[in-house]
């Protein structure tokens, strides 16, 4: 009897440890494999909205990719090209326009007729609604404060500007030298390495960015070409390591 209990306990223990091991292994990855890394950014910037919905070209913001090894994170003044005028989300902006329109209509009507208590109440109500609308939005406020400006439409610096501390997502080790220029010139799409960025709400590392993954693509590209163009993607060590 004693042995049976002991065996049972051992058996349960064995299954339990196998289970723990198996569940642990499912999340197992090589050291430094950062696949799926999606850190919280200082501004909740949405690639889905900008690159997906609004279809802004990648190179509009990451223009350095054509001229430098780094694709570069756009400087705040690049954001200001649009956000000088776009100060909140589409819904908020259209709601704002709608209320402002109503207020205007109400005022016109009030001017045409004599004072009316009812209409005054609804005007106050609309003014309150307008005040409740978050404009500029919380996230864009961070953008404006980085430039040290108060009003986006009239960007006069009121305090010191400071860089936005974006958290690096795609961060290769120091002994790897990757050059965006070469890949952009060869016609490699951004999505080939960065994944479906246009559908990502928060940026995450889509691929493993491991050496094997790089080498496989170099081999395939040399064999099959890129977009029908023949390319010589070398797999020499010194292409990336020097």
């Amino acid at each position: 009897m004693y042995h049976v209990v002991l065996r049972l306990i051992l058996l349960v223990g064995l299954f339990f440890s196998l289970f723990v091991l198996a569940s642990g292994m499912s999340g197992w990855r090589l050291p430094d494999n950062q696949q799926g890394y999606a850190p919280k950014q200082p501004i909740e910037y949405s690639h889905r909205l900008h690159a997906g919905e609004l279809q802004i070209d990648c190179l509009f913001c990451h223009s350095a990719a054509e001229h430098s090894r780094h694709a570069g994170i756009p400087s705040t003044d690049v954001c200001m090209k649009c956000h000088r005028f776009v100060t909140a989300s589409f819904d908020v902006m259209s709601e704002k326009l709608r209320i402002e329109d109503q207020i205007k209509q109400l005022r016109e009507r009030a001017n045409a007729q004599s004072d009316d208590g009812d209409e005054a109440t609804s005007l106050d109500d609309l003014q309150r609604q307008l005040g409740e609308l978050k404009n500029p939005s919380t996230e864009l406020e961070k953008l404006y404060s980085s430039l040290g400006i108060e009003s986006p439409t009239e960007p006069v610096p009121s305090s010191v500007d400071s860089s936005i501390p974006w958290v690096r997502v795609h961060n290769l080790p120091d002994y790897v030298y990757f050059d965006h220029r070469a890949h952009v010139a060869a016609g490699v799409t951004c999505q080939r390495c960065h994944g479906p960025v246009e559908s990502m709400e928060r940026m995450r590392q889509f691929e493993t960015l491991s050496m094997g993954w790089c080498v496989n693509c170099h081999r395939e590209s040399t064999e099959n070409g890129i977009n029908g163009q023949a390319v010589q993607a070398s797999i020499d060590c010194t292409v990336c390591h020097y």
């Binding site: 090589l30 050291p31 430094d32 950062q34 890394y37 850190p39 350095a64 054509e66 001229h67 430098s68 090894r69 780094h70 570069g72 994170i73 756009p74 400087s75 705040t76 003044d77 690049v78 980085s146 430039l147 040290g148 500007d161 400071s162 860089s163 936005i164 501390p165 974006w166 958290v167 690096r168 961060n171 120091d174 002994y175 030298y177 050059d179 220029r181 070469a182 952009v184 010139a185 060869a186 010589q232 070398s234 020499d236 060590c237 010194t238 292409v239 390591h241 020097y242």
Partner: protein, 1007 residues
């Protein structure tokens, strides 16, 4: 059998004697291992388990900070190049500074510069390290205490007001100033003081040349020497390829006539007469060993010989009979035949001797041809007579205020203690040095000037050749431009940019042909340099009556020569670890100064390398104990000591290099790097003399092991391993011009054992690019600019004196210096040696982890991440060019780390490294061409060593491109590959050395 292959080469006297200390040492040293195997395994196991744990989890998060407003044209990660001017010495070579993300990284020569012609010496290459020096002052000092500019300004302004009222004497002392704007600022500043004077001095003065021209031409100028016009060059001690006046310019010019071709087998003839072995002497066609106190008598004899040919009255020559070795009539004959195409120069500081030099050049018609005094040089303006007068004034207590900029005044002058005492008596003493140096510690105020890479200033090295210096970054500390300091004390608030620009508008622009000033300014700023009209000068007819018979100087047993080493041309460079660890091109010693003694004298005295000797003046008022260094080719009577050592503050290098149990500090407790020999400088009534004939030498107790690299990494091949039937060849192949003109392949060893067997024919396809390099030994002077260029480009660590002694220096290029001869009279050959990128590389076959492999473009690549540090490759490398990281070399100085090239991995402990042929530059060039959709043009990619070379000795390019410069170089009949008989198939080729020595080798052959 040709004579050349019998010529025996040796790198050190010990090797010549056959007692090389290197013989039984493994290539990378071999220290006894004091930890037991068991302990090691225990520790290793523990470390590995820790490493396994540390592998889990995310990499630490990193932030990326973009600009808020990105300046136009700035792209993160992209190199920008700006033209500026080197301030390492008054030669003022042009620099093209590479700036990445706002920090200057690499200095390149400015190819369009009319003076330096694209070269840059070791000092210029090392300047980023002086910019990122954490020991530079970041604030002004008042009475040795940290202060701020407002306090300093008001205190100085108050003192100056008192001095102006009382009419006290104000003396502004600087080293040579080539900047027209700074000169004007100083002149303007001094105007308000009735008794004021600007005194210029040089750490190694050429004052006698200027004074001699005042006597012979009525104008005190330093002529602009044009070595490119000279077919016969005779130098009495002037080290013009090494440290004299403008070495980069002179090297480029000297090279013009040094490359014979099969169709045009002509070369200039360069004769050097000197006491010590200088870099220039080592490159001469004919070198005579002459004691410097014989320069005068020899020059007099030479003059008289020429005068008799030219029907001019001779000079009475009772002083000395010259040297029996030198055939003066033959020398005079050779010079006379090259009238107008010859050049005689000397570094002698005796004005009378320099007058004779001028007279010789006048007889030869060299003025206006090889010597230009209409557009003279401004690179040395020091006036020793003024300086000596100032010292007298100081000692008499007549000076009320003293300002010192440039070189360290007290460090570079003799009678240090008396001078220091006199300076303490001056009311207001201001130093503009960037640190609290020797003079600074005597000053009431230290007002640190910017580094040149932070400054707006200009320079005019040659009259009419004006260049701009522009800042590459905001000043790193709270320093202030000297222009601004002078403006503040004159009651103005202008910035240095405004001062510079307005001076250019008023004074430089009118000398140009430009239409509008803004356009002229922008263009000059872009180009870095502009040529304008020279200042008009009144040059008188040559006055032969200025030539006086030379007086007999005092003679002792030994003649001491004080000189500057390559790199350390001024005491302010002593704070640069790259330059301290640069092996001297001749002695190969790092981190020290010493007494060079000829082998015969050393034997008579019973000293050997490193034994301490005492050098003293005959009067006994100054003496110094230093280690001895046996220098082949030095005159038996001559002793040589390098200046610019023993610099205050160099004790900071005590712990440079790795920190480990058996480490010996580079600088011992209470000592400095080397010892200051400036006390030996002799003062006469009109000049400072660096050669003095009244010194004594004696052996004293003690020994100091010098850190010399001369026998390290020797590629000597023992005869026992030579392939069957093949003769072992020496690394250097040479011939004479006479032999070359008959047969352009003269000098090729006759025994060939050539095999075309390829070890891996399929692995080495030859399509695409195939990088190769060719080095012309006829152009290479051994100046070592490439070595520092490589160090700067490739993040080569500094290891310290002790590690150099253990043969662990990390330089990727070494310049092998070979002697041939008997130790007295020697011939020298310099050979830059780096990874040869062999097609059949012996290192590749022995690597157990494939960390060193061949790539598609013919490069032998080293993969740091694969390397496990077996060092098999280094053992099997026939050229001994591989360097092992024995340690994690300290990178604690975060400011200094800004000089690291972000394109090159900083290697960690336990991996092998070596020349990569600047693969980062190759990749950059290829990618840049691809992104512009252009083919890669020949010459677009330059390696760091090639770019810096003042003599353009190095050619790099694609050997598969039949039109490239490298392909042309490979067809040169002088081409040879090192150890080719072993079929290593090196990608680096050399071009045979041709000496223009009248076929003396040929003559010997028939004896």
């Amino acid at each position: 059998m040709s004579n050349e292959s019998q010529k025996k080469y040796w790198t050190s006297l010990a090797e010549k004697e056959g007692s090389s200390s290197d013989e039984n040492v493994s290539p990378q040293g071999g220290e006894s291992f004091s930890i037991s195997r068991r302990r090691f395994l225990e520790a290793a196991g523990f470390t590995f388990s820790l490493a396994a744990f540390s592998g889990c989890g995310r990499a630490p998060s990193e932030t990326a900070l973009p600009f808020t407003n990105q300046p136009e044209g700035v792209v993160p990660g992209r190199n920008m190049s700006y033209a500026t001017t080197c301030a390492g010495c008054p030669a003022n070579c042009g620099i093209l500074a590479t700036v990445r993300d706002g920090r200057p990284l690499k200095m390149e020569g400015l190819p369009e510069h009319p003076v330096s012609r694209g070269g840059l010496c070791a000092v210029g290459q090392a300047s980023p390290l002086e910019l990122y020096d954490s020991h530079r002052l970041t604030h002004p000092l008042m009475n040795g205490e940290e202060s701020n500019w407002d306090e300093v300004d008001s205190a100085i302004a108050k003192s100056l007001e008192e001095i102006a009222d009382t009419g006290g004497a104000v003396r502004f002392v600087t080293s040579t100033i080539t900047s027209p704007t700074l000169q004007a600022s100083i002149d303007g500043f001094l105007q308000r003081f009735p008794d004021s004077r600007h005194v210029m001095f040089d750490a190694l003065s050429s004052s006698a040349i200027l004074d001699a021209h005042r006597q012979t031409h009525g104008i005190r100028v330093l002529p602009h020497y044009k070595f490119e016009q000279a077919k016969v060059i005779v130098s009495f001690g002037a080290d013009f390829l090494g440290t004299w006046i403008s070495p980069v310019e002179f090297t480029a010019a000297w090279r013009t006539h040094r490359i014979p071709t099969a169709s045009h087998p002509e070369m200039s003839h360069h004769i050097q007469l000197e006491g010590r072995m200088s870099l220039t002497g080592s490159n001469a066609d004919k070198r005579y060993r002459i004691s410097p106190d014989d320069y005068g008598s020899l020059l007099t004899l030479l003059y008289n010989e020429l005068a008799s040919t030219a029907d001019q009255p001779p000079i009475d020559s009772e002083s000395g009979q010259g040297s029996p070795d030198v055939d003066i009539p033959a020398l005079a004959d050779r010079l006379w035949n090259a009238r107008g195409e010859s050049l005689v120069v000397s570094d002698c500081q005796d004005v009378a001797v320099q007058c004779v030099v001028n007279a010789i050049n006048q007889l030869l018609g060299n003025y206006g041809k090889t010597i230009d005094i209409e557009r003279p040089s401004r690179q040395r303006q020091g006036n020793d007579r003024d300086l000596l007068e100032l010292i007298e004034e100081l000692q008499a207590g007549k000076v009320a205020a003293m300002f010192v900029a440039g070189s360290d005044l007290t460090h570079n002058l003799p009678l240090h203690d008396e001078l220091a005492e006199a300076i303490r008596g001056v009311d207001l003493v201001v130093s503009f040095a960037d640190r609290n140096n020797d003079f600074g510690s005597l000053a009431n105020f230290v007002c640190p000037d910017h580094h040149a890479l932070e400054s707006w200033i200009d320079s005019e090295p040659i009259d009419g050749v004006v260049s701009l210096t522009q800042p590459m970054l905001q000043p790193l500390g709270g320093t202030r431009s000297i222009l601004e300091s002078l403006a503040r004390w004159s009651g103005r608030n202008d910035s240095s940019y405004e001062i510079l620009r307005s001076h250019w508008q008023q004074s430089i622009f009118p000398r140009s042909n430009g239409a509008s000033f803004p356009q002229f300014w922008d263009q000059t700023l872009h180009d870095g340099i502009v040529t304008v009209k020279s200042n008009p000068r009144a040059i008188e007819e040559f006055r032969f009556d200025a030539i006086q018979p030379l007086s007999e100087s005092a003679r002792g047993d030994f003649c001491l020569t004080l000189y500057h080493k390559i790199g350390l041309t001024d005491s302010r460079h002593a704070h640069n670890p790259w330059l301290q660890e640069l092996p001297d091109p001749i002695t190969k010693v790092t981190w020290d100064n010493y007494v060079c003694i000829s082998p015969a004298t050393a034997e008579a005295l019973g000293v050997t390398n490193g034994d301490m000797v005492r050098v003293a003046t005959a009067s006994g008022d100054y003496q110094l104990e230093l280690p001895a260094l046996l220098q082949a080719g030095q005159h038996d009577k001559v002793l040589a000591i390098a200046l610019a050592y023993g610099v205050k503050g160099t004790d900071r290098f005590a712990n440079v290099g790795p920190d480990w149990l058996e480490a010996i500090p580079t600088v011992a407790e209470g000592e400095l790097v080397g010892k200051n020999a400036a006390g030996f400088i002799e003062t006469t009534e009109d000049s400072l003399r660096y050669n003095r004939a009244d010194v004594t030498l004696e052996k004293v107790q003690g020994h100091r092991e010098l850190a010399t690299t001369q026998e390290h990494h020797s590629s000597n091949v023992p005869p026992s391993v030579a392939p069957h039937g093949a003769e072992v060849r020496e690394s250097i192949q040479e011939t004479s011009l006479a032999a070359f003109s008959q047969d352009s392949s003269a000098g090729t060893p006759e025994v060939h054992h050539h095999s075309d067997v390829q070890l891996w024919p399929e692995d080495h396809p030859k399509a695409g690019h195939r990088w190769g390099m060719a080095i012309d030994l006829n152009a290479c002077t051994g100046c070592s600019a490439c070595l520092i260029a490589c160090q700067s480009e490739n993040n080569v660590p500094v290891v310290g004196q002790d590690e150099v002694r253990r043969q662990r220096e990390m330089h990727w290029i070494r310049i092998d210096r070979y002697y041939s001869g008997d130790g007295g009279e020697v011939e020298v050959a310099h050979q830059p040696m780096m990874c040869q990128h062999c097609d059949n590389a012996p290192c590749e076959t022995v690597c157990p982890v494939l960390a060193t492999v061949h790539n598609e473009e013919g490069l032998n690549e080293q993969v740091y991440n694969r390397c496990v540090g077996t060092r098999y490759c280094a053992n099997n490398c026939p050229y001994k060019v591989r360097r092992f990281n024995w340690f994690e070399y300290p990178r604690d100085d975060t400011l200094q780390n800004l000089a690291l090239n972000p394109d090159v991995t900083v290697r960690s402990r336990g991996v092998m490294e070596k020349c990569s042929m600047c693969v980062q530059r190759i990749n950059e060039g290829k990618i840049e061409a691809k992104s512009r959709n252009e083919p890669l043009a020949d010459g677009q990619i330059q390696t760091a060593c090639q770019q810096s070379c003042p003599a353009q000795a190095i050619v790099f390019g694609d050997m598969n491109d039949s039109k490239s410069a490298i392909s042309t170089a490979l067809k040169n009949p002088r081409r040879y590959g090192l150890l080719e008989e072993f079929n290593f198939r090196p990608s680096v080729s050399y071009q045979r050395l041709v000496r223009n020595n009248d076929g003396e080798i040929e003559g010997d052959e028939h004896v």
